[in-house]
């Protein structure tokens, strides 16, 4: 009995030691830089830890907002305004912000996100995820909660999002006054208006998608 307990303790210490060595080596090699994404082991462990950290009651929560075109539209508008700057309108995470984070903003159309329960998605939106770029969006009000449940509906829709929907979202993405001006100018010109008197300025971008 004592021997078994001893073996268990030694085994646990060995695991903790191995994790500490791997973690230490990783930190020594990369420092605090977010330039390289976490390795496979770190990703798997972090996802498991996140999954365990979500209370069962929260995980099993059902979406109180019925599935409908209106719910998806509401979620889409909210997503374009608040989430797309990191996650991209198409949910790919292919944005300047998303690509620069460690861990990278996930491709939400893939199984790693789509296999989460509605309750898990809602919990993550409401509470954020510590040591990642995901902030907590839960304001505590019923209105905020409804918005976040609509976001869950839209996240489920992401694998089927259409190009016209993405174009609609572009109109809802936060823009600088200069970007508004440029969009207006383009629209006016295409509709037959006069060309701007000054040549179009250089636009500055680091690229991105959706």
């Amino acid at each position: 009995m004592l021997r078994t307990a001893f073996r268990v303790v030694v085994g646990l210490l060995a695991i903790v030691g191995a994790i500490a060595v791997v973690g230490g080596a990783s930190f020594a090699a990369r420092g605090i830089s977010a330039k390289t994404p976490p390795g496979r082991l770190e990703t798997v462990m972090a996802r498991r830890l996140r999954s365990r950290a979500i209370p069962r009651a929260a995980r099993e929560q059902q979406n109180p907002i019925p599935a409908s075109a209106d719910a998806i539209k509401g979620g889409m508008e909210h997503f374009a305004d608040h989430c797309a700057v990191c996650h991209a309108n198409d949910g790919s995470g292919d944005t300047e912000m998303g690509r620069g984070m460690s861990p990278r903003a996930p491709d939400m159309r893939q199984a790693a996100t789509q296999n989460l329960t509605d309750g898990e998605l809602f919990y993550i939106i409401e509470n954020g995820v510590r040591l990642t770029g995901m902030p907590a969006w839960g304001g505590g009000s019923e209105h905020d909660a409804d918005d976040n449940w609509r976001l869950v509906r839209f996240i489920r829709h992401l694998p089927k999002v259409t190009q016209p929907e993405i174009e609609t979202m572009k109109g809802l993405n936060p823009k600088s006054p200069e970007e508004y001006r440029q969009d207006e100018e383009t629209h006016r010109f295409l509709q037959g208006g006069a060309a701007p008197k000054t040549p179009p300025p250089h636009q500055h971008t680091h690229g991105g998608k959706g």
Binding site: P164, L190, P196, T205
Partner: protein, 103 residues
């Protein structure tokens, strides 16, 4: 004095990196003069003719509807957002990133 020198060193060491990063896009407004395969010719609002490469990565939109290069018609108004890449001979080659056409 040492602090001032260190600050100046940092400014001169960092500034070129900040200023030299890539990512400038150019916007071209005008009328489609011709399109032959990947080559799009645009008569700009100032009367010049510019040639732009249209490839499979170019997003072509009429309103919010995706289009193909074959849908671009000579004579219609066009707004092209392009960046400049270089071909194998090192010649600057404007490539259309996004094309907008009248709905």
């Amino acid at each position: 004095m040492k602090r001032v020198s260190a600050a100046l060193f940092l400014v001169f060491a960092i500034a070129p990196r900040v200023l030299a990063h890539e990512g400038h896009l150019h916007k071209l407004m005008g009328t489609v003069a011709a399109i032959h395969g990947e080559r799009l010719q645009v008569t700009t609002t100032t009367g010049e003719t510019s040639e732009v490469v249209v490839n499979d990565k170019t997003r072509i939109l009429r309103g919010v509807t995706a289009q193909k290069a074959a849908d671009i018609k000579p004579g219609e108004r066009i707004v092209v957002v392009m960046n400049e890449s270089k071909n194998q001979a090192g010649k600057a080659l404007p490539t259309a990133k996004e094309i907008r056409l009248r709905k």
